[in-house]
């Protein structure tokens, strides 16, 4: 049974990785935070504790799968998201993910980067999301699998973290 489930999981994984639509989507937000970049980066790179600043998250667990680090995020609404931690780049203060399962999207590659802000003691955080709609084929697109659904899901799930990261860090002073 376990093997069978693993096979199904593999099939689902490879399906989500294979095909995607022709029009990539982008959500690209920047937030200025009154905190030193090193302090902001320390919180951003701590992917096992994303619930500290991403308000939609209920719990996080992380497991190693071969060379991959796979994180499971359970949202407060019960949805389970799986993503791969692709790179944690301390030199450039940038963390890259690939969200592999859990929402109406495909080939979803977000990253978060931290830079110096406009003034001393400030940081600029960039939240960059590149993704495709879930439905990989020509229209008609089934309900809930179009571009608008993917954009709404990401806006509802991840984007609330942008302002909350600022709040958490600025209040922590």
């Amino acid at each position: 049974m376990k093997q069978f489930l693993a096979l199904i999981a593999m099939a689902v994984f490879s399906l989500s990785a294979i095909a995607h639509g022709p029009t990539p989507q982008k959500i690209d937000n920047r937030v200025i935070i009154k905190a030193e970049p090193a302090k902001v980066w320390a919180m951003v790179k701590d992917y096992e504790n994303v619930q500290k600043w991403l308000p939609t998250v209920k719990s996080v667990s992380v497991e190693k799968k071969g060379a991959d680090i796979v994180r499971t995020i359970v949202l407060k609404n019960g949805i389970k998201l799986k993503d791969k931690i692709k790179q944690v780049d301390d030199a450039n203060m940038k963390i890259k993910f690939e969200v592999i399962e859990g929402g109406p999207f495909s080939n979803y590659n977000p990253y978060i980067s931290v830079d110096k802000g406009p003034n001393a003691g400030e940081s600029e955080v960039r939240f960059f999301h590149r993704f495709y709609r879930q439905y990989p084929n020509n229209p008609p697109i089934p309900e809930g699998q179009d571009e608008a659904s993917a954009i709404k899901f990401i806006n509802d799930t991840y984007v609330p973290g942008n302002e909350n990261l600022k709040k958490v860090l600025e209040n922590a002073k």
């Binding site: 990785a17 294979i18 095909a19 990539p24 982008k26 590659n109 020509n138």
Partner: protein, 319 residues
């Protein structure tokens, strides 16, 4: 026979005439998929000189200086915009009824080829009358396409089959299917047609293929390579790494990476401008184009264009 001064005047006039024949600049046509437009960049002036509205979600670009035409695939409106490059006006729209993405024009200017990636079709079209001359099935998900310098072969990156298809342009029959890396998307040739390149998105490699004996070498590049282009002298290959914000520079003879150039967010389309020895890269995530000096590998200019520039295909026309 002539006094020295007269000769000087004559050669001056001859140069002037010759200069009129030689391309004075190159124009880059950047497809902005997010705002349904084409930004026209004068590479000499390093600025956008025109913006042309097209149909929905433009991606692929093919142009011909001789025909004074630019062809743009609009994937979401399922058609191709035909632009007169003398007036920058859309003069016709060719319906495709599928998902046109890859597009290429034959060097003899007689055929326009369009890859329809969901319906697995390749169409051959007369670029002046817009008549569909022929069509064939190429499974699965034909993406980047390019025609050999002698116009006899059509090379297609067949994304979901992890293959390159080689078609005979006379009848669109398949000459060869060649296994490459995972998810080939962009494709390029050296100017002599001897070497073919594909960017293999999912295994982070570029295939370097001899078009005579089909010998292949894979070179590891950055994360999610999308597009490739070779320098005019056929010595250097440039690859956009979409998830690394960089361009890998490969020495074609030794098949070694000799430099990595940091560019903007999500670099996609890349072309070499022989006129000015420049490399142009469209940065999808940043809404701009990097102009890189081919000798120094330094970015000499960054030009703001429209939303989500793809510039997929041969997007530079010498004028």
């Amino acid at each position: 026979m002539y006094p020295i001064r007269r000769l000087g005047t004559l050669s001056f006039l001859a140069c002037l005439l010759l200069a009129c024949q030689k391309p004075s600049t190159s124009l880059a046509y950047i497809s902005n998929q997010g705002d349904n437009s084409i930004s026209v960049i004068d590479i000499k002036q390093q600025k956008v000189t025109n913006t042309i509205a097209v149909d929905h979600a433009p991606v692929g670009i093919a142009g011909s200086a001789e025909l004074a035409r630019l062809f743009v695939t609009n994937v979401d409106s399922q058609n191709v915009s035909v632009i007169d490059t003398n007036t920058n006006q859309v003069i016709h729209t060719i319906p495709v009824n599928g998902s046109p993405v890859g597009i290429a024009i034959s060097p003899d200017h007689k055929r326009l080829y369009i890859a329809d990636w969901y319906s697995n079709r390749v169409l051959a079209i007369n670029p002046m009358t817009y008549h569909i001359i022929n069509e064939t099935v190429v499974e699965k998900a034909p993406a980047g396409i390019i025609v050999s310098p002698d116009s006899l072969r059509l090379y297609i990156a067949v994304r979901d089959s992890n293959e390159i298809a080689v078609l005979n342009t006379k009848d669109l029959s398949t000459l060869k299917r060649l296994s490459v890396g995972e998810h080939p998307f962009g494709i390029a040739l050296t100017s002599d047609g001897n070497i073919l390149f594909s960017a293999n998105v999912y295994d982070n490699t570029v295939s370097i293929i001899d078009t005579h004996d089909w010998q292949q070498t894979k070179v590891s590049v950055g994360d999610h390579p999308y597009c490739v282009t070779a320098s005019q002298d056929n010595k250097t290959l440039y690859v956009t790494n979409t998830l690394d914000e960089s361009v890998s520079v490969i020495d074609i003879a030794s098949k070694q990476i000799v430099a990595t150039i940091n560019v903007g967010e999500t670099p996609e389309g890349i072309n070499f401008d022989a006129n000015h020895q420049r490399i142009l890269v469209s940065n999808w995530g940043e809404n701009n184009v990097s102009i890189i000096d081919a000798k120094t590998h330094k970015i000499i200019s960054t030009i703001t264009v429209g939303d989500r520039p793809r510039a997929f295909g041969q997007f530079i026309i010498a004028r």
